[in-house]
Every structure is written in structure tokens, then in C-alpha cells.
Amino acid sequence: MTEHSEVLNQPEAEVQEHTHAEGHVHRDDEGSKMAMWLFLFTELLLFGGLFLLYGAYRFEYADGFKVAAAEMNSFIGAVNTIILLTSSLSVALSIAAMQRSHKKLALGMLWFTILCGIAFLINKYFEWSHEIHNGVYPGGPALENMSNGEILYFGLYYVMTGLHGLHVIIGLIFIGFIMVFIARDKITSTNFQKLENAGLYWHLVDVIWIFLFPLFYLLH
């Protein structure tokens, strides 16, 4: 009885007591999803600001941007686009497999996604090292002789693809954790919102690249 009156004095404790007593699991998939979307909006704003900066500078230095972009290897850019699109497919397939309780297939698809992400980063590494080798980096010898438009282009190129690359790395870590959850049956066919959220993040990274590709590689 005394315990009960104590609980009454603390409304919060009462709620906890009540739910524990019924063995009710605290879970709100819809809330979890909404939180993920709200986070993605902040990501959109982060990249959106950079895209706006790109747009404004490209408007002012159209010629310099064209000259600078001519040096880009659009083939590698296209390959990376296909790689990311395919990795988005495998994440979507992984969720579909999880819903059907195909644990192994879901894990296999996520392994494939991680391989795609790593392949993307390797391509990026070769691309960046090629440009840095040519002296195109902040304070580099080649960049110093360029026009303002070209300097701005490469500045934005490094910041935007760099930030995007960072997101790819974070996405890979995120998916890695999700795979551990799946392996330990913390994610199941009826409880997979964590996987869904990782998927949302990965697709956002894909969407950002969908815009980066034509803006940095396909200027003619």
C-alpha cells in the first residue's frame, strides 16, 4: 500500500511502473521514422546551403566553372552513380527480405551495400589523388594559377564531395551496426524500423550524389 501511495505522488514513476507490470514493450516505429525524417531535413539544409552556394557562384562564374569541370572524369562519376544506385537497391531489397523473415538474404544484401560503399570510396580516393597529384588542391601550385571561377569550383568540389564521402562512411558504420542487430535477432520481420532508418539515411546519401554528379561532372 505504501508503495502505491508513493507511486501516486510521482506521476512519472507511475507510468513506468504500470508499463513494466504489463510487460509492455516501449516501441514507436512511427515516431522513430519521423525522428529520422526530421534529421534528414537538417541534412537537406546542410547540403542545400552548399548547393545554393554552388548555384550562386556558378551563376557568377559560369565560364570558370566550365573550364574547371572539363578536367573531371565523367566516366568515374557515372560509374560511382551506378554503384550508389545499386547500393540503394540492395538496401531496399534487404528490408523486403527482412519483412519476409529471410535473415540471411537481408544480411547478404547489406554486405553487398557495404561493398558498394567501399567501391565508391575507392573510386573517390583515386579521383582525389589524381587531382592532388596534378597540384589541384587548396594552396596547390596548379590551383594558384587558375581563374577565380575555377578556384571556387574546386573549393566547392572538395567540400561537397568530401562531405558526401563522410556521409558514405557514416552510412557504412550505421549499416554495420544494423547488421549486428540483425545477426543477434534484435531486428526481426516485425521489428525492423532501425533497418528502415538506416535505409532512409543511405538513400539520402544516394539522392545527394544524384545531384552532385551532373553538377560537377557534366558541365559542357
Binding site: W37, L38, L45, F59, A78, I82, L89, V207, F211, H220
Partner: protein, 122 residues
Amino acid sequence: MSEQIHTGEMTAGQAHAAAHGEAEHSHAGAHAGGHMVGYGTYFMVWLGLVALTAVTVTIAGIQLGSLTLLTAMLIASVKTALVGYHFMHIKYDNKIIKVFILVCLVIFLTFWILTFSDLSFR
């Protein structure tokens, strides 16, 4: 204990499905936030995305002048819509999430319009 938890989950899931059923009947019976989509659908969306990428690269090779950027951005928007609608499951999301996304896009678009109306008429 585990059975207890299970039943707890089930009732939560059923309540959710019922709540969903009112808003979207196609959702009835489906688990919270989950709608079964066939593997084939995802493959078709992927094919479409790859095809659109090919179109973007091809169009960039043709001299279209100022239209090049416009078409590239239009295609990128269509690709984004495909990824969002199918891969990110916006198609099956609650109305509130759809409204949130729309509001976010409108705000984003407003930034662009304001900035470029400034840049263009200086």
C-alpha cells in the same frame, strides 16, 4: 515472459494497423511502418534510375546550351522522386510525414527563388 512481451507487441501492432486502416485502407493488416513490396518492383525502379543516368550522360554530350543544366536538374529530380517514393517508402508513409517533406521542400525552394531573384536583378 517472452510470450508476454510478444503479446504486448502484437496488440500494439494490431492497434497500429487499425489506426492505419482508417487513414489508408491499403495498409490494413500490414505491420507498423511496413508494407510488403515485391523484389521485382525494386528492380524495375533501379532499372529506371540507371536508364535516367544514361539519359543524363547522353544529353550532357549534346550541345543544348542553357537547356543542359535545366534538363540535368529535371532528370535528377525525377530520380530523387523515384528513390523517395519507392526506396524510401514515402508512398506508404503517413500523411503527416508527406506534409513534412512537402513543407521542407517548399522552404528549400523559397531559399532558391529568393537568392536567384536577388542575383538576377542586381
